[in-house]
Amino acid sequence: MKRLPIQPVVRGRATGPLALLQQPLSLWGGLDIESGVIVDANHRDRGLSLKGRVVAMREARGSSSSSSALVEAARNGVAPAAIILSRLDPILAIGGLVALELYGRVIPIALVAEADWSDLANGTLVQVIADSDDAYLDFQEP
């Protein structure tokens, strides 16, 4: 088991297979909030379902409505299990907070240091422990 330190943005715990995106995704306009599948026609991961995944992208992208897209996807039960970034995104942060506030859905959001980014491997089962300052990712060995 490999462990990587993270910095919590929205606190909580989650587990899921890691979806390491090949480029940033705007959740609004990029994610079908009823199915959880990427629909951005120009995105390299088009067609991938993010439902229940620990989604990793270096930075976010695009619309101010991405917070609504995250909350609506959570309400529909198709949101990512957690979101890992290397650059803080204020729009996803409020989305995570409101998903909890309105619907009690915990979607932890956390930052991984840029230097550790290459340790993220697509498909690995990962546990996000981000409910205290001592936060980390645990990777299951493949």
Partner: protein, 408 residues
């Protein structure tokens, strides 16, 4: 976070229960983004008024039921549907009722139902250095870059909390040091590319947004006489391809002169990169059937309507092709009352208000391509509308409308 007396009063309920609830969420948000104190804002622009589903209503209703009232002048971004022309709606019919309800909720909180993504064109123009809380990615870039006002990248929900308290965490682009350029990009002069001017500005923005990867760019080489509409195209494209919320452009934007870029290596964007972006945004084939021309993403300005009226004067389009232009009710009223814009009416231009045709489907024909001169439309349209969309100059859009097919 360190809370001032005002923040404590807001949190403690001195300004009512809705302001208290909003402040409580803002404190959690401030902690999430690592801020240590709050500052005051002079206006808010709200994106959360666009109906996405029941969560949009649930959030606004929670504050409305507590008798909430905004504390700073607050405008509303676009809605999910044009309720003035419900017959044009090709989306789910129930969205009209839901959107009317949501807009009314925001109005009950004191917001102005401006319903535009470009409030900066005529309605509200914050001054250099003024702190505001704006949501809507293109409005954020415009306020920061072109007007030199200071807003972070606000999303739905934060926007309303800021309006209800007049406070935001001192974070992101509110901070002087976060506004400094982190990369320098030299773009080719328009004359050195093969693109039309509109496609040039849009593709510059698109590539700058991709290259910047969340950092603040300083752009060299943009024409110093670039109009506000051109800068609107740069910003909206960059906020679509990336998360860009502020750019400096040498000789153009108000904070560029004070930027120190001496220690930053200059990266070059080539003419081929711009052409490559233009190609990706126009996957259409010459001669394929055309359903519609869609303009006004972000909302068309008076000047853009003037240029359109001039360009289509005396032309006749293929009757099967529709032409839609999105704008605010306020600009639509000005356009519909002026003789100068008569050619729009004889060409049967349909002016969509409150919303935008890249998110609210209006095109009648279900088959056939849509062409646009907007990078933002070409970027989001295919995913949102599940249609074939192509970016091209206004002139080529109109030639295509004449032919009923994508023109060369």
């Amino acid at each position: 976070m360190e809370l001032s007396d005002l923040d404590q009063a807001l949190l403690g309920g001195d300004f009512g229960r809705a302001a208290s609830k909003a402040m409580s969420l803002l404190v959690r948000y401030g902690e999430a983004v690592g801020a240590s104190e709050f500052i005051s804002i002079t206006s808010a622009h709200i994106d959360g008024c666009l109906y996405h589903g029941p969560s949009s209503i649930d959030f606004a209703e929670a504050f409305s039921q507590l008798g909430g009232r905004i504390l700073v002048p607050t405008t509303l971004n676009v809605a999910a549907v044009d309720v003035v022309h419900p017959g044009w709606n090709r989306g789910p019919p129930e969205v009209i009722e839901a959107q009317l309800h949501l807009t009314a909720l925001y109005e009950s909180l004191g917001c102005l139902a401006t319903l535009t993504c470009a409030p900066y064109q005529r309605m509200i123009r914050p001054r250099l250095g003024e702190h505001v809380a704006w949501a809507e990615s293109n409005a954020i870039v415009f306020a920061n870059s072109v007007l030199g006002a200071r807003t972070d990248r606000y999303g739905d929900f934060t926007d309303l909390c800021a309006a209800l308290t007049g406070r935001v965490p001192l974070s992101g682009l509110h901070r002087e040091e976060e506004r400094r350029p982190q990369l320098v990009l030299r773009v080719p002069a328009w004359a050195d590319t093969t693109l039309s001017t509109e496609v040039y500005f849009g593709c510059v923005g698109y590539v700058v947004g991709e290259r910047s990867r969340g950092r603040v760019p300083y752009i060299l080489g943009l024409p110093e006489d670039a109009t506000e509409d051109s800068l609107k195209a740069v910003g909206s494209a960059a906020a679509s391809s990336g998360s860009l919320a502020l750019f400096h452009a040498a000789g153009i934007t108000p904070e560029a002169g004070a930027c120190d870029v001496s220690g930053i290596a200059v990266e070059t964007i080539t003419s081929d990169e711009l052409s490559g972006a233009a190609g990706r945004l126009c996957p259409l084939e010459v001669g394929e059937p055309l359903a519609a021309v869609c303009l006004g993403t972000p909302h068309f300005s008076i000047a853009e309507f003037g240029a359109l009226a001039h360009a289509l004067d005396g032309r006749r389009k293929d009757p099967a092709v529709e032409i839609y232009v999105s704008t605010s009710r306020e600009i639509e009223a000005a356009v519909s009352q002026s003789f100068q814009f008569a050619p729009l009416r004889s060409y049967d231009v349909k002016i969509v208000v409150d919303t935008c045709t890249y998110l609210a489907p209006v095109v009648r024909q279900l088959e056939g391509a849509i062409v646009t001169n907007s990078v933002k439309f070409a970027h989001y349209g295919p995913g949102n509308l599940r249609r074939r969309v192509g970016l091209m100059s206004l002139e080529r859009c109109l030639r295509s409308a004449d032919l009923g097919r994508v023109a060369p």
